[in-house]
């Protein structure tokens, strides 16, 4: 009986070893390609929130890591032109109806929004997913705005007395996005010097 158990264990072990080797080889072969694709993805989304005209560097390669108020590390991608920082982009987390909404925010040196995009979300199709630029251009209205314009108490959806449209049937999603963008701008205001400092 023990001999048979050992035999089964050996069979299973041999299969694990064989397929483990196969997977390790595949991982080895594809790892570099996958890393390249990730950099391309990041570059493509950074390109949407930082106009090409304001920088002559590659923001992917000019990243600094900072900590926000909650102690979470945030990577700041910096656009520079002639050695001067002309804009930064970083990720924001908003809370929507379907969970976390990931946003990418681009801000210029004066704290004005260069662009913002929802990069990942699980909002309801047809309702909350209107924040996605592939569905509607709702999120484009933030371009050019800053903390002073509109004033801080107007950085809300209309239902809460602010100036941003909610969608019919969906208030939670735009509310989460607006408040995430506002705190993103506050983060910029608080750490401006450090972000724009030339290393």
């Amino acid at each position: 009986m023990n001999g048979r158990t050992l035999y089964h264990a050996l069979v299973l072990g041999a299969f694990c070893l064989g397929f483990g080797t196969l997977l390790a080889t595949t991982d080895l072969l594809t790892a570099d390609e996958i890393k390249l694709r990730q950099v391309e993805d990041l570059q493509a989304s950074l390109g949407q929130v930082i106009p090409a005209s304001i920088h002559d560097n590659n923001p992917v390669n000019d990243a600094i890591v900072m900590k926000n108020e909650e102690g979470k590390e945030i990577t700041i991608y910096r656009a520079t032109r002639g050695g001067r920082v002309t804009g930064v982009a970083y990720e924001l987390l908003g809370s929507g109806y379907g969970g976390e909404i990931r946003l990418l925010l681009g801000v210029d040196g004066d704290g004005k929004i260069l662009g913002v995009r929802a990069t990942e979300h699980r909002e309801t199709p047809g309702l909350g997913d209107k924040i996605d630029v592939a569905k509607t251009d709702w999120i484009l209205r933030f371009t050019g705005l800053s903390l002073g314009a509109p004033p801080a108490d107007k950085w809300k959806v209309k239902k809460d007395g602010g100036q941003f449209d909610q969608f019919s049937g969906a208030t939670i999603t735009p509310r989460g996005v607006v408040s995430a963008i506002r705190s993103g701008l506050e983060f910029f205001a608080a750490h401006k010097t450090q972000m724009l400092e030339v290393h």
Partner: protein, 223 residues
């Protein structure tokens, strides 16, 4: 022999269709059919995994002992899924962005495991491979049809974003059936998955009854 191959094809595509008759793999069937394109993509990825895992299991069936067969099948299926996941990510990245989230789910799909146990563990390599291919294609067809119904009623489009899955050549498939914003939202939401799948299952039953076939319980094999 030719007769048994045509049996495999008929069984996989219609007579013993994975979704409509065996009622296996219902999780991706309902989760991934919010559009025809999603259903097609998920189906094709599953078909590939089923074909390769059936092939490997049939080829190695002499070495797999009865007692450890289930872990070995799962190991082989999971390895094939990871292989697909990594290669799609590296070489077909646009497609991966559409399907990426759902590919790991294939491991938990009972259909590949079911075919491994029922078919590939007993039959030679070539029929097992074909069984995987056609069971997979039957699964793909069911998912595409359910996805198409839900997409038309729910979003008013058909094969939206097909070019992301199949390449720009297939962008002619993308059509708008109903005017924008007239779709019935609930059909694209999770309850719609149950409704559409249920209706399609009933339709298949009606066709079977019309054809005078004996009613079989889900997953059972005629005695």
């Amino acid at each position: 022999m030719a007769d048994s191959y045509s049996r495999i094809i008929k069984d996989g595509l219609w007579e013993n269709n994975g979704v409509l008759c065996q009622m296996l793999g219902m999780c991706p069937t309902m989760a991934m059919t919010t559009s025809a394109t999603n259903g097609l993509g998920m189906g094709l990825a599953t078909a590939f995994v089923m074909a390769t895992s059936n092939l490997l299991i049939a080829a190695l069936r002499g070495y797999i002992t009865q007692e450890v067969r289930i872990p070995v099948y799962i190991l082989i299926i999971a390895a094939m899924v990871t292989l697909v996941d990594l290669s799609l990510n590296a070489y077909m990245h646009e497609l991966y962005k559409v399907l990426g989230l759902f590919i790991p789910l294939i491991v938990s799909n009972c259909l590949p495991l079911g075919r491994a146990e029922v078919y590939a563990s007993k039959e030679p390599v070539l029929p097992s491979f074909l069984d995987g291919v056609f069971m997979g294609l039957g699964f793909t067809a069911s998912l595409t049809v359910i996805g198409a119904c839900r997409e038309i009623v729910g979003s008013g489009t058909l094969f939206a974003d097909a070019h992301l899955l199949l390449g720009p050549v297939f962008s002619f498939l993308e059509t708008r059936v109903l005017p924008a914003d007239t779709g019935i939202l609930v059909v694209v939401l999770p309850p719609g998955g149950f409704l559409a799948t249920g209706l399609l299952l009933s339709l298949k039953r009606i066709l079977d009854i019309r054809a005078g076939k004996p009613i079989r319980l889900a997953g059972a094999h005629s005695v």
